[in-house]
Symmetry: C2
Subunit: 344 residues, 2 copies
Amino acid sequence: MAGIADVARAASVSKATASRALTGSGYVSEQTRARVVEAAASLGYVASTAAVSLATGRTRNIGVVMPYVSRWFFAEVLEGIQDALLRHGYDLTLYDARPGTEGRTRVFDDFLARKRFDGLIAVGLEPSDNELGRLVSIGRPVVSVVGPPSEAGVVALDDLHAARRATEHLLGLGHTRIAFLGGGGEHQAFVDATRLRGYAVTMEAAGVEPHHVPSAVSLPGGYAAAVDLLGDTRERPTAIVGTCDEVAIGAIIAARRLGIPVPSSLSVVGIDNHEYAEMFSLTTLEQSPQAQGARAAEMLLQRLREPDVPMAEVRLQATLILRSSTAPPPGVPSVAVGSAPAPR
Amino acid sequence: MAGIADVARAASVSKATASRALTGSGYVSEQTRARVVEAAASLGYVASTAAVSLATGRTRNIGVVMPYVSRWFFAEVLEGIQDALLRHGYDLTLYDARPGTEGRTRVFDDFLARKRFDGLIAVGLEPSDNELGRLVSIGRPVVSVVGPPSEAGVVALDDLHAARRATEHLLGLGHTRIAFLGGGGEHQAFVDATRLRGYAVTMEAAGVEPHHVPSAVSLPGGYAAAVDLLGDTRERPTAIVGTCDEVAIGAIIAARRLGIPVPSSLSVVGIDNHEYAEMFSLTTLEQSPQAQGARAAEMLLQRLREPDVPMAEVRLQATLILRSSTAPPPGVPSVAVGSAPAPR
C-alpha cells in the first residue's frame, strides 16, 4: 500500500508538505495541493484517519444521539442528517440511547466522553433529564432537533402552531366536541405537551372545552385509546386531533372497525404527513423530518467552519394538507374550507 | 484536563507503562494495570482515541452498511447491533447507502476506503451488485445480515422455510387459490425472490398452481396491489401469502375497504411478526430482526478476538404465530389446525 512518502516523492514535495496538502492543516499553495492530491489518487493512497485526527485535532465525524431509530420521525431525521454529512465528507457515529436502558446510561457516561466527533446532533432529548446540558458541557458544538430553546442550536417544528392550525381547521368546519388524542402520563414528551397546549389554548379561545385522551404515541397506542373513546356513544366526540399521524391513523382504523364512517360521523386530523397518511386519506399538518435533519447538520458544519457564529433557533411552520378525513360534523351544513380561521 | 503524564505520575509508573496499561497493547502486570486504571479514573483521564488507534491499530468501532434505516426490519436490526456493541464497548458508524443515490456511490468509493472500523456488518445488500464482495476486499472481517451464502459470515432468516410454512398452513386449511403478494419487477430483492420460491415449490408439490402478484414491498404497496387483485371478483383468491407483514397488512386494509371479511372470505398470512401484526390479528411467521443484528455483532466481535475462527452461516427458522386472519376457505368445513402438514 502506498504511504505518505510515496505520495511526496511522486509529487516532488516533502512529506510534511504532502501531509499538509492532504489534511488541510496549514498553508499549501493551490497548485501544490492539486499536485499532491493527484499523486495520492493515482497511487490509491488513503490517509490513516487516526494519524490525520492526531495532526489536525479534527475527526471529520459527527455524533448523533437519538432515543429511537425504529420510529418514522427519527429514522427520517437520521436519513436527512446522513445525506447532508455525506455531501460534506463527514462520517456519522450513531449513539442510540433508548430511554430507561443500560445502554443509554453507558452512552452518556462512557461513549460520549471519548469525544470521537467534532460536533453532536441530539434528536428528541427530553429537557427534564438535562441530558442536552450534559452534551453541551462536553465542549463540542451541539445542535438539537426537536425540543425547547437551549444553549445548543435548535431545528424543530413549531409544534404550538401546528396543533393550533389542526384545531382551527376543525373549529372552522363547525366542530365543538373535539378530542386531543395522544401523549400524557408519566412519560409525557415535550413535543406532545406543546401540541396539547396549542390545541387547548385554541379551544379555550373559541369558548369550547378541551378534552385530552392520553395514549401511547404510536399507531397501536392511538388505536387502543380510540377504541375506548369511540366505543362509548354518549361521550363520543365528532372530531379528533391526533398528536401525530400514527396516533391519528390508529383512530381511523379503530373507527372503521367500530363501523363509524370517517369523515361523515368522525373527522380526524394529524400532524406529520407520515408515509401512511395518503393511504388513509388523512388530513394533516405536514412537516419534513428529513429537511430538519439536513438543516441541523448544515447548521453544525457551519459552526465548525465559523466558531464565532452564534447558534440559531429555527422553528419551522407546518402546512395543512387537505385530504378526506375531515368534514363538517353530522347535522351541520357543509361550509367552504376557506371560512376556517386563518393562522394567527 | 489530565494527560497521560499526570496518570503516570499518580500511579508511579512511566508514561509508556501507563499508556500500555490503558490501551491494552503490550504486557503490563495486573497489579500495575489496576493502579493505572484507578489513577486514570480518579483524575478523569480519557485517552485520545486517535492516539489509542495509532498505538493499537484498533478503532473499537464497527461500521454498519444498510440501504434503509427507516424501514421496520432494518431499524430493528440496527437496534440489535447497537445493543450488542454497547455491551462490548464498541462505537457504531452508520453507512446509510440508499440504492440509486449519489450517497451510496460515495459510501462505497470514499467512506469505506478510510477504514475507520475494525469490522463491518452489511445488512440487506443485494448479491447482484457484488457490493458484499467489495466490502470483503477492504480487508476487514464482514458479517452479512440477510442474503446468500458468501465469503463473509451470514446471519439470516431461513426465507425458503418461512414461505413454505406459510403456504403449508393455508393448504392445510383447505385453500387452493392462494396468491403470493409482493416483490417482483426490476428490483426484485434476494429475500423476496427466495420467499416466492419457497411458496412456489410448496404449491407445486401440492399439485396447485402458484400465482405471483407483484407489488412494492411496503404497506402502501401491498394495499394498492391487493385493491387491484381483490377488486376483480372472478379472479379473487381465497388466501394470500404476503412476502412480509407490511404487505400482508396492506392486503387486510384493502379487504376491509372493499367489504371482504377476513378471515371468513379471505385468509391472509405474513412473514415477520411486525409491531403492527397484533393490531391486525395477523397470522404470521415470526422472525426477530433485533436478535439477528445482535447475533451478527457477536459473530464479528468473536472473529476480532479470534482471527482464526472461520466465519459461519446461520439460518434461523421462523415460528408460526396463529392469530385470526386465517380460516378455512368459504364452503369448506373447519378442520383442526393440527392437520396442517408438519414443516419439512
